[in-house]
């Protein structure tokens, strides 16, 4: 059998658990980025410093599910195999969840620390605000008809 890294069956199952958890996580990311009808509830965050809900679920649900399957399995052999895969999924899922929390926190801190943009003034300010009001050079009085008094 092809086994270049000389891995024993337990190590293979652990690796399989990690890889399958990673596949679930990144497949979900792909779906989130490409499917317009992706549910908004899964894109939301419980708190701004936390990853998106779907990221939390896809990081932590696979190991939790596998541990439950291990618990309810009656066969000792299956218990052992599923337990190894659950441990592999934990090796990927839990550090990946912490990774996402720290990265999202760093993003929020960066946004908070961003210098505020200075907008250019819309009009030249002078000492006296009244100076900005254009002075009419022509005075027109309705009752004077076609004659105008100019300054």
């Amino acid at each position: 059998m092809f086994n270049p890294l000389k891995m024993n069956p337990v190590e293979k199952r652990i690796l399989l658990g990690g890889l399958s958890n990673s596949l679930i996580y990144w497949a979900n990311h792909f779906a989130m980025d490409t499917i317009p009808e992706y549910p908004q509830e899964l894109k939301n965050r419980v708190e701004p410093h936390m990853p998106q809900n779907a990221d939390i679920i896809t990081s932590l649900a696979p190991p939790a599910t596998l541990y439950v399957v291990k618990k309810i399995s009656k066969s000792t052999d299956r218990k052992e195999k599923v337990g190894d895969m659950a441990f592999g999924a934990t090796l990927y899922g839990v550090p990946n969840f912490l990774h996402d929390v720290v990265v999202q926190t760093a993003y929020q801190e960066g946004i908070a620390g961003r210098p505020t943009a200075r907008l250019p003034p819309t009009m030249a300010m002078t000492k006296y605000a009244v100076n900005n009001i254009p002075i009419p050079r022509t005075v027109s009085v309705a009752s004077m008809g076609k004659y105008r008094v100019t300054s």
Partner: protein, 119 residues
């Protein structure tokens, strides 16, 4: 948990810590408005392959554990290397698949809508 599992978990967390440190630094500076792309280690190799910082964290850290463990003949460090490798290999494989899938679908959203409408 037995000692082997503990060591593997420590290795996975150590690898993840380097990964998160590099990525948090990138994201923090980017959100401040600083240009980080192209600066070491945030160098892209190819659109389908993870950038250098991911390789340093996900492949470099387990390799370092393994080399030091072999040199010092410490089984604990080799077990940490295995734990780190499971996190790192899974992460690199996942990122690569994601990048390849994105490359294969240049306008995925539009294509999905067209398929959904059964045109």
């Amino acid at each position: 948990m037995d000692n082997v599992e503990k060591n593997m978990l420590i290795g996975a967390f150590a690898t993840s810590a380097v990964d998160m440190g590099l990525e948090a630094n990138y994201v923090y500076n980017k959100s401040l408005g600083k240009e980080m792309d192209g600066q070491f280690p945030y160098i892209g190799i190819h659109d389908a392959i993870p950038p250098v910082d991911d390789w340093i964290a996900d492949a470099g850290v387990p390799a370092l554990f393994y080399i030091v463990g072999k040199a010092m003949k410490k089984d604990g460090l080799i077990q940490m290397a295995k734990g780190g490798a499971i996190y790192g290999v899974s992460q690199l494989a996942g990122i690569t698949l994601y990048r390849v899938a994105r490359l294969a679908s240049p306008a995925p959203a539009a294509r999905y809508v067209v398929v959904n409408r059964r045109i």
